[in-house]
């Protein structure tokens, strides 16, 4: 039983979807399983969970409430590639970690791993800070377009190579608040295309 409104209650956001791929109940059940596994694996380690804003925050919030061992949480923000960001040439750190991670057991939390470009950049960055261990936990995995091989230690769901939104995944900053994951209708991101 999840505490969220029914999908239809999300109105236009829901109407923009052609299909719900993963329900809120399925997500919450899987998050609980992942939290239990992390609690077992990191017993006595006092891990620090690190996420990149913004997409990860719903997953991070749900996940940490299913982990039963002491932990710390920290966030980073980096500039994504964009028409304006590309003028700078390289990724810029917009918000760095507030806690040192050298010697710590770091679990990097992602909403989705697709090409691996961002994750690869961040993991290199974190590895240079000397953590005791550095592992990856992602809610969603779109492996079909993976450019950079990255070991994923905890994974929630595989996603198809389609335009999906919800549970932190956005299109133009919208849809992150959906507690489920759905396929975005083509006419939303391809103006002019008929349904």
């Amino acid at each position: 039983m999840n505490p969220y409104p029914e999908p239809e209650a999300f109105g236009d956001l829901y109407e923009s979807l052609s299909e719900i791929l993963i329900t809120a109940d399925q997500i919450q059940a899987r998050v609980a399983e992942m939290g239990a596994a992390i609690s077992r694996d990191y017993e006595g380690c006092h891990p620090i969970l690190v996420g990149i804003l913004k997409g990860v925050f719903p997953f991070m919030a749900d996940l940490i409430r299913t982990i039963t061992i002491p932990l710390d949480v920290d966030f980073m923000a980096i500039s994504s590639y964009s028409p304006s960001a590309r003028e700078h040439g390289v990724v810029r750190m917009q918000k760095d970690l507030e806690e040192p991670i050298n010697g710590r057991h770091v679990l990097f939390i992602e909403d989705v791993v697709d090409t691996g470009l961002t994750l690869n950049y961040v993991l290199r960055h974190l590895q240079n800070r000397g953590p005791a261990t550095l592992k990856v936990c992602t809610m969603f995995d779109k492996s079909s377009r993976r450019l950079i091989r990255i070991p994923v230690h905890y994974k929630g769901f595989d996603l198809p190579d389609r335009f999906v939104v919800g549970y932190g995944l956005d299109y133009r900053e919208m849809y992150r608040n959906l507690p489920f994951v759905g396929l975005l209708k083509a006419e939303v991101f391809q103006p002019g295309k008929k349904a």
Partner: protein, 125 residues
């Protein structure tokens, strides 16, 4: 990025954008570094070869980009199948038009995404 930090002459604008994305995230790449012979004539000369667009040395991965509409990709798919037969040890990814469009949309590069979509192409998918 190339070893001397200069860009080669790309044959398509999408290749330049792809290279900028790789550079942005610090991924080393080479442009068309190798051709793979696929067919030979009676005298043993290479008749058909395939030259993937990019090579990522750290990943040992070749990448071919295409903005062709799906029904026009047949020839390229045939070459890739032949590649897999002759060079099974080579890792290669074909990034189709829809993949590239999704990548451009993800990064908010609407002009490039629109160029990939094209008016006529919208009726083909």
């Amino acid at each position: 990025m190339t070893s001397d930090n200069s860009y080669p002459v790309f044959s398509h604008p999408i290749e330049a954008e792809f290279a900028r994305i790789l550079d942005y995230y610090g991924v080393h790449w080479e442009y068309e570094p190798r051709s793979f012979p696929l067919e030979w004539d009676d005298k043993g000369n290479v008749a058909i070869a395939f030259t993937p667009d990019f090579y990522l040395p750290d990943q040992d991965l070749y990448i071919e980009l295409t903005t062709l509409r799906p029904k026009l990709v047949t020839k390229k798919n045939r070459k890739l199948r032949r590649m897999n037969e002759l060079y099974p040890e080579i890792n290669i990814q074909l990034w189709k038009r829809s993949d590239l469009r999704a990548l451009m949309l993800r990064f908010g590069i609407d002009d490039e995404a629109a160029r990939i979509i094209g008016t006529e192409a919208q009726t083909e998918e």
